[in-house]
């Protein structure tokens, strides 16, 4: 069948899965007084529509920052404003100042879900299709399978359409940045990424790779000539885009400071809840939160984060190819997630790990179904197991590291590790749902889930770092085709 029809079918399928999940419950449904993320988004529409711009991020009589104050960059605010205008056309009650707090209705739920779908359709899905077709390797069929698997990724579906957020916009814009960079249009790529960053500050996780990749490209083209020109072009684009996004706030430095203060809440401590990062897991053994002061915690996490991303960034600077760029993106986001300050579990968008969150939202069935479907599709369509040989997994460097260990087929080891992980995850999911934790350890299951996931993430971080760094600096002609 022709490509376009296969891709359309995949997209339609993805959309159906998304809407089907939408019909389930959302975060904070029916839970006054604070409700959840759904109410937060609705509240932002209310705030941005009714209040003037200079009051959006401030604590005023009309805008109580304790009740879901805006804590995303301005682009989220503009998007909420746009949605609010549409909402006003349909039903003004939804964005009535103060009166619409905690508003929950059938029509409103449909409206909110529809906004997510529209944003997804306009930004994220085209980016995925373009990415699969222009930037991934393999036959046409493989590319279609990639589209399907990415579109069915349960983490994004469950968080955006279940829990309720707009990650698809920021991720979509970042993905546009990657696609456009891959096609060689550096200025546009940086524009896309700046927009993505201005939508959610979480995209800082990806900022260093973008920075190092572009800087490295400039260096490679020679700082005396074209490289400098490129650098200037990119810098100007970045600054202008930032200025445009923050235009209403530029008039007053106090505004800028307040917004930054809202975006990066440094007063809140190293972590909250059970997150699969280093600090939370370390807390099990040593009570870090209580030993160190908040300031020390901040500096400590900052230093470790920077140290963690240093190797991959330097490598990218020295060798700015697309493959290195992709690896660096993974490494950087993992490093940030594992070591930074005040991380929420949603930042990793990894479904199995977010199970406790989904249980709270009443999203168990969609979680099970989408995870199973995704696993099934990725394993079957992308023939993951057939490519499980040592060579394909680029496990060469490991072999050199583990030179003391007896000869074993690392490919098979990885395969068995995967089976084990899946079984363990299924087991933990089942236990979290079906069994009650012992009285002395009420947080046993979330903690187990987070520690288990943490070990996986750490392992992934090490793996990808080694893969990225072990690649030779000067790639031979032959390799040039492979290292896309």
């Amino acid at each position: 069948m022709e490509n376009w029809s296969l891709v359309s079918i995949c997209v339609l399928f993805g959309l159906t899965a998304r809407w089907a999940v939408s019909l389930n419950s959302y975060s904070g449904a029916g839970k006054p007084p604070m409700f959840g993320d759904y109410e937060a988004q609705r509240h932002w529409q209310e705030v941005t529509y009714n209040l003037p711009v200079h009051e959006w991020y401030f604590n005023t009589t009309d805008n109580n920052l304790n009740y879901w104050g805006l804590d995303y960059p301005p682009l989220t605010a503009y998007h909420s404003l746009l949605c609010a205008h549409v909402a006003k056309l349909i039903n003004p009650d939804w964005v009535e100042l103060h009166a619409s707090r905690g508003h929950e209705s059938y029509g409103h739920k449909l409206f909110m879900r529809a906004t997510v779908l529209v944003a997804d359709l306009l930004i994220y899905i085209p980016a995925v299709v373009l990415y699969s077709f222009y930037l991934s390797e393999g036959s046409n069929k493989k590319k279609v399978c990639t589209v399907l698997c990415i579109l069915l990724y349960p983490g994004l579906i469950l968080i955006d359409y279940g829990h309720f957020q707009y990650n698809s916009i920021s991720l979509g814009l970042a993905l546009w940045g990657v696609v456009v960079l891959g096609l060689g249009w550096d200025v546009l790529g940086s524009l896309a990424f700046v927009l993505s960053l201005n939508y959610k500050q979480m995209e800082l996780y990806h900022s260093l790779p973008f920075f190092c990749y572009l800087l490295g490209k400039c260096f490679k083209q020679g700082l005396a000539g074209r490289g400098l020109f490129l650098l200037v072009k990119i810098a100007v684009t970045v600054l202008v885009t930032f200025a445009l996004c923050w235009l209403p706030f530029l008039s007053d430095p106090g505004q800028i400071l307040q917004v930054v203060h809202r975006l990066f809440p440094v007063g809140r401590g190293l972590f909250e809840d059970k997150v699969a990062n280093t600090w939370c897991s370390l807390n099990v053994l040593i009570k870090i939160k209580t030993i160190l002061s908040t300031d020390t915690q901040l500096y400590f996490s900052l230093t470790t984060t920077l140290l963690a991303i240093l190797p991959s960034s330097i490598k990218l600077l020295m060798k700015p190819t697309l493959w290195q760029f992709k690896l660096a993106l993974v490494n950087s986001s993992l490093a940030f997630f594992l070591f930074s300050f005040q991380v929420h579990e949603k930042s990793i968008l990894l479904p199995a790990f977010m199970l406790p969150l989904f249980l709270k939202d009443g999203l168990l069935v969609p979680y099970v179904v989408t995870s199973l479907a995704f696993l099934f599709f990725s394993i079957y369509l992308l023939s993951a197991f057939e490519h499980c040989s040592e060579d394909k997994l680029r496990l060469g460097p490991y072999r050199r590291l583990l030179i003391c260990m007896p000869r074993m087929d690392l490919g098979r080891v990885t395969k068995w590790k995967f089976y084990f992980s899946i079984t363990a995850m299924a087991g933990l999911s089942f236990m979290s749902v079906a069994l009650a934790p012992p009285d002395q350890l009420p947080d046993l299951f979330p903690l187990l889930v987070s520690v288990f996931s943490y070990l996986h993430f750490l392992g992934l971080l090490l793996y990808f770092n080694i893969v990225q760094i072990a690649e030779p600096l000067q790639s031979v002609r032959k390799n040039q085709k492979k290292s896309n």
């Binding site: 069948m1 339609l12 959309l15 999940v21 179904v369 099934f376």
Partner: protein
């Protein structure tokens, strides 16, 4: 690889289980679970606390009875007859799961049908294989998904038995096919409409073991053994299902429940059949007559002028239609097809074609037909569609209009994206896969324009109409437009199907000469 398609479908169907639609069928089946579980057998067909009384044959009641034993572990309260409209989460979960689990029958039947599909030689990749296309067309059938999993019925299970019976006949295992069909008849008596096809086919091709050289009946080859075997199957299954009720002398009561005198030629939403067109013509003529001052408004029956789709539609100009007339029309419509498999039997495939014609004919001319009945024609027709080019063309037409006519079943705003997306998915897939299989366009421009008109109708009904002033003055317009527009397509497919059947009959006759 078919099994992998199975898993896909099962998983996707489960996604819908998270969504509960307020359909009456849900309550109907819950009520039947309650009746069969809590009451003794003698009361099953007398019970009428709820308005949804048991109106399927006894074998289905036994089926519900066995389900109720599983249901009691989910939520005992749903099995109390007095708990009308009881919808606890456990109840919803159980009911949805029961549909999904019984769909296993459907999946097995699809697998068997795919095995019997004839294909051309030549290597194709998996996606292009006829059996893969057939599997996808059946498992992903939009109508079945909508009706079963969103609206709630056990059609997957029932159609599974039907398709399995067809597959057995295609494979030459006629006794099993007959057994399965008898079981099906005793599960849902609407399949009586296709019983003539089965009866004549089995009589002609199974009981008469040999044909004459010119294809006509060889009376000497009649095999009483086979007839007795068939008869005993029918009687024993019937005894199993109806037996207890006959013993209790409740047969008249059961029959009165099975064949209630339902008011109205069409039910509240006109199924896209001949009578929808008939009603439309009648209404148009009466409006025209009033405008041209040929008729007196006061003399016309009230019902036809005040509202739109009421059940008791009294015809003002054209003669009224009674149940017996519809029966005669149905019989007349299927007569040529049935006669053709008697005179020139073309094996199991001829039987299948006749079955589709019977199903479609009864849909076209039946009394109080529900639009869901179109599935009875579409699903078996899929098998023929992957084997012949002409059938594929007719199939696309029938399937697209038939499925579109199911849209009014889901009328809430939440279901709108689902039905549109699924419809697009199925239509896109059926068109592109069949086009690729038969290498070339399957529809002529007129048909394509008609199908594109469906998009216009949908936009009219969902977007234009709610925003227009007609919403209050003429509340029935969307249903009317949908029904009439689709009946054009369905009637057209019916005629084309008949033409192809008679043409085949004609060529066979020519071959003998």
């Amino acid at each position: 690889s078919i099994s992998k398609v199975h898993c896909v479908v099962l998983l996707t169907m489960t996604v819908f289980s998270g969504y509960f639609s307020h359909s009456t069928d849900f309550e109907v089946h819950r009520n039947w679970l309650a009746i069969t579980h809590s009451l003794p057998v003698s009361k099953w067909y007398h019970e009428n606390t709820s308005e949804w009384t048991l109106d399927y044959p006894p074998l289905f009641a036994w089926f519900e009875y066995s389900l109720s034993h599983v249901a009691q572990h989910f939520d005992k309260e749903m099995l109390v007859v007095q708990n009308l409209i009881y919808t606890s989460p456990a109840t919803i979960l159980f009911q949805r799961l029961s549909v999904i689990v019984t769909d296993i029958v459907f999946i097995y039947a699809v697998k068997e049908c795919c095995r019997s599909v004839r294909e051309e030689k030549g290597s194709k990749d998996l996606l292009g294989h006829p059996f893969f296309i057939l599997a996808a067309l059946l498992l992903w059938n939009f109508g079945l998904l909508i009706v079963d999993h969103i609206h709630f019925q056990y059609n997957g299970f029932l159609f599974g038995i039907l398709l399995l019976s067809v597959a057995r006949h295609l494979q030459g295992r006629h006794l099993e096919g007959a057994l399965l069909f008898t079981v099906l008849l005793n599960l849902k008596h609407i399949y009586l409409y296709i019983a003539p096809a089965y009866g004549i086919f089995l009589l002609r091709s199974y009981c008469f073991t040999k044909d004459n050289t010119d294809g006509s009946v060889r009376w000497s080859s009649f095999s009483p053994v086979r007839l007795v075997a068939l008869g005993s199957i029918v009687i024993s299954v019937g005894a199993l299902s109806f037996g207890p009720f006959i013993a209790m002398g409740q047969l008249p009561q059961v029959l009165s429940r099975l064949f209630p005198f339902k008011r109205g030629l069409c039910h509240a939403y006109w199924a896209p059949n001949v009578w929808a067109l008939y009603n439309m013509v009648d209404k148009a003529l009466s409006v025209l007559g009033v405008r041209l001052k040929l008729l007196d408004v006061a003399k016309l029956p009230k019902a036809s002028m005040t509202g739109g789709l009421v059940q008791e539609f009294q015809h003002s100009i054209l003669p009224s239609v009674s149940p017996s007339i519809t029966l005669i029309c149905t019989l007349l419509s299927i007569m040529p097809a049935v006669l053709s498999i008697w005179c020139r039997p073309r094996g199991a495939r001829g039987f299948l074609r006749c079955l589709v014609v019977c199903a479609l004919g009864s849909f076209m001319f039946g009394w109080h037909v529900h639009e869901k009945a179109i599935l009875m024609a579409i699903l078996p027709f899929s098998i023929l569609a992957v084997e012949s080019r002409e059938d594929a063309g007719i199939f696309l037409m029938l399937t697209t209009t038939g499925h579109y006519s199911l849209f009014p079943l889901l009328f809430t705003a939440a279901e709108l994206p689902i039905k549109v997306l699924l419809m697009l998915l199925f239509t896109l897939y059926s068109f592109t896969s069949l086009k690729k299989l038969f290498r070339g366009s399957l529809l002529n421009p007129l048909e394509t324009t008609y199908l594109l008109g469906l998009v216009a109708v949908e936009i009219l009904c969902e977007v234009v109409y709610p925003l227009s002033p007609w919403q209050h003055t003429l509340p029935f317009v969307p249903l009317l437009v949908t029904s009439v527009y689709c009946s054009l397509g369905v009637s057209y497919s019916f005629i084309r199907l008949y033409v192809s059947l008679l043409r085949q009959h004609g060529t066979d006759k020519h071959k003998q000469l």
